[in-house]
Subunit: 147 residues, 2 copies
DNA sequence: GTGAGTGCAAATGGTTTGCACCAAC
DNA sequence: GTTGGTGCAAACCATTTGCACTCAC
């Protein structure tokens, strides 16, 4: 169990504390599952995982807690596919962009300073002040290459 | 009326022809409205515009025709905001990325060869073969700058 | 006249919400 | 014991679809 996860737990507890929110068994189970899973997952996937520990937990609670985690800065909501959210572990993560395999769904992260710089230049040329951006590269990963 | 629009009409007729599809008053009205409007619009916006010419036209017909236009290569479906599609005029358009104003919704297009090149390099380093990508820059445009 | 196109209403599906009940502080 | 949390079912909402009818070829 890495120190990042310990810190994430503390962070969540602190967030609840500071906002006059309560803890609960469900929230603990959801957080633990979230921390133990791959860094990118859907609400549905998280729900299935949590169900192995707590059968009766509702999907709405998953969504509500996921929103809490986003507000607390521990998760980030992404939209790699239309009509379905992907939640990403955000604690101790710096900015990065994504490579998404269109065959198997594998997601890899990267960051390219050159691209970041160019984006700022482009925005500048158009008189825009950037708030955020989204760069997703879609393709076939090494394992899914057609022969 | 630019030559691009004339070509777009011919292209659509040809597409229908080649695929054993029929023309209709509705399809003509929708195409004309689509060509006369700004290059980025929602199905709803197109529907409202078409309604000024043909009151009774259904929203489903708008969607069905929009899909046809995409298939014919005259439109491209984008997803700048979650849960709402944006359709873009695609005839005589080359590849480009977008700047989106988070205040007024204005959309500007740009292309940066340097970024394109870097994307290929990044994909290569990760063993990916790119099929497509999505680069959206969000921010405040010149007119919406906070003083 | 036949197969495709249309309008309408109903379905879809991921996500959110209203509400009565339950539990953490 | 008060206030927030939970599960369930119903609501959302852009988009799609089933169906009976109409129109283009």
């Amino acid at each position: 169990m890495g120190p990042a996860k310990v810190k994430a737990r503390e962070e969540f507890a602190r967030y609840l504390q500071e906002n006059g929110l309560k803890g609960s068994q469900q929230r603990s189970h959801i957080l633990e599952s979230f921390l133990s899973m791959p860094p990118h997952l859907s609400a549905e996937e998280l729900h299935r995982q949590v169900a192995t520990v707590d059968e009766g937990i509702g999907l709405s609670t998953i969504y509500r807690t996921l929103r809490l985690l986003c507000d607390a800065g521990l998760a980030k909501q992404r939209h790699f596919q239309e009509g379905r959210s992907c939640f990403e572990q955000a604690f101790e993560h710096h900015h990065h962009d994504h490579l998404i395999c269109v065959s198997c769904g594998r997601i890899e992260e990267f960051i390219c300073e050159e691209i970041e710089t160019r984006q700022d230049q482009v925005a500048d040329q158009h008189g825009f002040t950037l708030t955020h951006h989204r760069l997703d590269l879609y393709g076939h990963c090494a394992d899914c290459k057609p022969e």
